[in-house]
Structure formats: C-alpha cells, structure tokens
C-alpha cells in the first residue's frame, strides 16, 4: 500500500535519512521504533509531504506520490496524527473536526462523519463548543486522532501518540489504534515506547541515526538483542 524506496532526506547539508526503504502492506499495523533524534519523525513527515525527499521514491497504492503536496495525499486517503497533537487550540472542538473534513464537499457527509466521531468519542461531543486548548492532553490526542479520521483515511500515519500522556491514556490510545486497524485502516506508527507498540504491531522497523538497523515481525523484534538492550530496557 505504501512503499518508500531508498529515501534520502537532508536538513540543510546534513543527511538525516540515509537510503531508507520501508513498506506497509494493506491492513497491516507497522511500527517504526528508535531513540529520540533517530529520524523517525522526519520519516513520517516525509510520507505526509511535510518534508522533502531529496532522492528516492514514495509510492501509495502503486502511484508515485513523491512530489505530491500534503493536502493531495490527504485527499488520496492518507491521514496524519502529528507529534505533539497540534490541534488548533483557538478553535472549538467541532471546528477542529470540521477542519479535518475540509476537503469534503458534501455537507450531509460532513455531518454524518462528525456524528460518527461524536458517537465514537462522547467526550468530544460534550465539549464540541469548547476551545480545544482547554482540554486535557489525552482529550487533545483523541481530538487529533478523530480529526484525522474524519476524512475516512485508508492509511493512518501516527507520530508519537504516547508522548506527554498519562500511562492510562497511553494504554487507551494504543488499544484504540489496534481497534482502528482491526476495522480495516492500515496504520504506520512511529513510536519511542517500543515496548508498548511492539505488543500491538504486526511488523516493525528499528531506525538508528537515519538508517534501518533491524526489521521484521513485531515478535522477532521483541526477541532481537539490539532492540532488547537499547529499547526494551533489559
């Protein structure tokens, strides 16, 4: 479904992603793990079109989308949950969701999708007229996820969902991601919390200083020496 081929990404002169190839198949839940500054966020931003891929190609359902702007990727069915949530704090909860539906022309469909989000997350419904920044971190994360779901994406890119959340919310978010995946949405998660994410993922990649060091099934990653030592704290 999503295929990254020999991608190289630069920040100025510095190469932050070095010839990375990665694939997400239809229906999978794939995770990219690694330490802070390894290039995880850059990688997922490049897939959404927020960072330019200098060399290499990115394919989505066989289509070369390397040079597509972010919004065109959103239209193709790629949803994005950014690191740090980045909800629109000065907008109400409902307006945040409406922004998620920005590309939908049919008003009835917007309304249906909003109702669906409210059914799924009653908290959001209670707070629909409240400014988004007045909500707790966990609620903001739910809002960021719902905002991405409004456009009915087939592929969801999620960046550091657990960051800055209370443990109970972290667990909730991971089980929610698993549930969304079981409902048929293909998911790519970038995550520092390797322990948690490898429990829900089908496959995983370990990235270090812009290169993929290990890849394989989530199970094999959990047994891998490098992963065990550096990321699972054993």
């Amino acid at each position: 479904m999503l295929k990254l081929q020999d991608a190289e990404i630069f920040y100025g002169q510095m190469e932050v992603i070095k010839k990375v190839s990665l694939e997400v198949k239809q229906g999978e839940l794939v995770s990219v793990i690694g330490a802070n500054g390894a290039g995880k966020s850059t990688l997922i931003k490049a897939m959404m079109g927020l960072v330019k891929i200098k060399h290499g190609k990115l394919f989505y359902e066989g289509e070369d989308i390397t040079d597509y702007p972010a919004w065109k990727r959103a239209e193709l069915g790629i949803g994005y949950v950014p690191e740090g949530r980045r909800i629109f704090g000065d907008l109400s909860v409902e307006e945040n969701l409406k922004m998620g539906a920005y590309k939908i022309k049919d008003k009835a469909q917007i309304k249906r999708n909003l109702e669906k989000a409210y059914d799924m997350f009653p908290k959001l419904s209670e707070r629909r007229n409240q400014l988004a920044r007045t909500m707790s971190g966990g609620e903001q994360q739910i809002l960021a996820i719902s905002r991405a779901l409004i456009l009915e994406p087939r592929l969801l890119l999620i960046d550091e969902v657990s960051m800055g959340l209370m443990p109970i919310m972290v667990n909730y978010c991971f089980s929610l991601i698993k549930e969304l995946n079981q409902q048929g949405i293909t998911v790519l998660v970038v995550e520092q919390n390797a322990n948690k994410v490898l429990k829900i993922a089908d496959r995983g990649y370990l990235i270090e200083t812009g290169q993929i060091m290990v890849e394989g099934t989530a199970e094999s990653l959990r047994q891998n020496d490098v992963v065990l030592k550096a990321y699972l704290g054993e």
Binding site: P69, A70, W71, R86, I87, F88, D90, M99, R133
Partner: protein, 291 residues
Amino acid sequence: MLLQQIINGFMIGCVYALTAMGGTLIYGILRILDIANAAAYVVGAYLGWVIYATTGNLAVAFFLSMALTGAIGVLIQKFIYTPILNKPNIIPIVPLITSVGIFIFTGDFIRLLVGPEIKDFGVILPFSVIKLGRIVINPEWILIIIMTAILLSLLWFVLNKTKLGLAWRATAGDSEIAETMGVNIQKVMALSYIMGYGFASAAGMMIGVLYSSIYPTMGDIPSYKMLAIIVLGGLGNPIGTIAAGLVIGLSETLISAYVGSVIPRDAIAFLVLITILLVKPTGLISRKNSI
C-alpha cells in the same frame, strides 16, 4: 468635556483599528510585519479621491477603492512576498525591509504622479451635525462609525461563518497542519491581503474625508502607529487589534486633552505600547498557540 473627548477618541480608535487590521491579518498567516499596509492606506485615499471626483458618489468611491486596493494587495502578495518567502533559509528581516521599500516607493510614486501638494477631498456628506446638549457629533464621525461597523461585521462574518474564514483561523494557529487538511495557503493569504488592504484603503479615505485633505506622505505616521497597535493587540489577533486601536485612540485623545502638549500626540501611542507591554508582554489579547 470628558464625554466629548471619549467620543472623539473612540472615532480615531476605529480608524486606527481598521488601518492596523490588514497588518494583523497578514501577520497571522505569513508571520511578517507588512509596513506596506500603510501604502494601501495612501493608495486607498487617492483612489477614493479620484473615483469620487469622477462619479460624485461616495459609496461607489469607497467600494471601488477598497476593491482595487485589495486587488493590488493580492498582486503584491503573489508576485513579491510569495516568491521571497519561498526562497530557502529566508530570514524574517528580508520581507520586512521589502515592505518598507514598497511603502516608500508607493508614496514617492504618488508624489510623482499627482504632485506633492495637499489635495482637497471636498466631500459633501448626507448627514448633518448632531448636537446632544454640549456634545457635538460631526457628519464625518457618523460616516466613520457606519463604515467601521459595516467593515468589522463583515470581517467577523467572514472569519467565523465561512469555510475560508475557518481555514484562516486554523492556518493562523498552525499552517503546516492546516495544509495537511487540504487548505490552500495561497488562497488564505489572498483573503488576508484583500481584506487587509481593503480595510486600510477605507481608513485612508475616512481620514481624507475627515480632514478634507490627502497628501503623499499621509501614511507615514499611520505606518508606525499601526505597528504599535498590531503588537499591542497580541500579534495576529483581530479582536486584540480592535481593542488596541481603541486603547491607543482614546489615550491619545484624552492625554492630549488633559495633559496638554507636553507629550507630542503621536508619541503617546508608543508610550502606551511600552507601558502595557511592561505589564503584559504578550499584548492585550494574546494568541495561544497549541503546540
């Protein structure tokens, strides 16, 4: 008389708010201080003067002058600012200096075109002086109240009740994320320029009508007073800008009426700015970005 002074200050504040609004709308999206907004003030006044002289209809003059100045704004955005901002590693001082350049160029261009002398706007307004006891409200003030009310309601409507306005607010909050949702940033920028330059043009015309005079350097003092209002309003906050415009207008009028000319009138805006920023560094109403 206090009430009279308050009314006077309120009126001037309305004009200040309209003048600075463009700067606020543009800062909200592009994060640049656009001094050339004061050029729109001058251009608007001159266009209005020409159109009024030809058509004799003030409403037409206002409408056409705003539309034309707004269109000029979009052209400046498309052909000057966007290419500059798209250059890699651009530092914010570059667009700022560019806008100063556009402003100076415009004033000089008008001087070459129509001459440096003061032109008489020569408007006969359809309202008469209203007297309530000892309070006098001039016909020009009535025009200013009506125009400000119409324009600010229009702004409120666009920002809060239209899809493009929602996109404007989202983009002002986080342009990168707004873009991932399908917002065409160029369109949002164009909205900022059309409305911003249009408002500045209306403000220039109002001042032209009020003092019955326009001249090429009429934008000089508004250009820096506008900066004080934009900063005081919390940088990029439309409601803050209205509040800041009124605060500056009122304090100017009241201080020069009651303290006298110890402090030059045009310095008061900055005294107020500095005093308020010392107490509240984020401005009157700060924007709270969610990161």
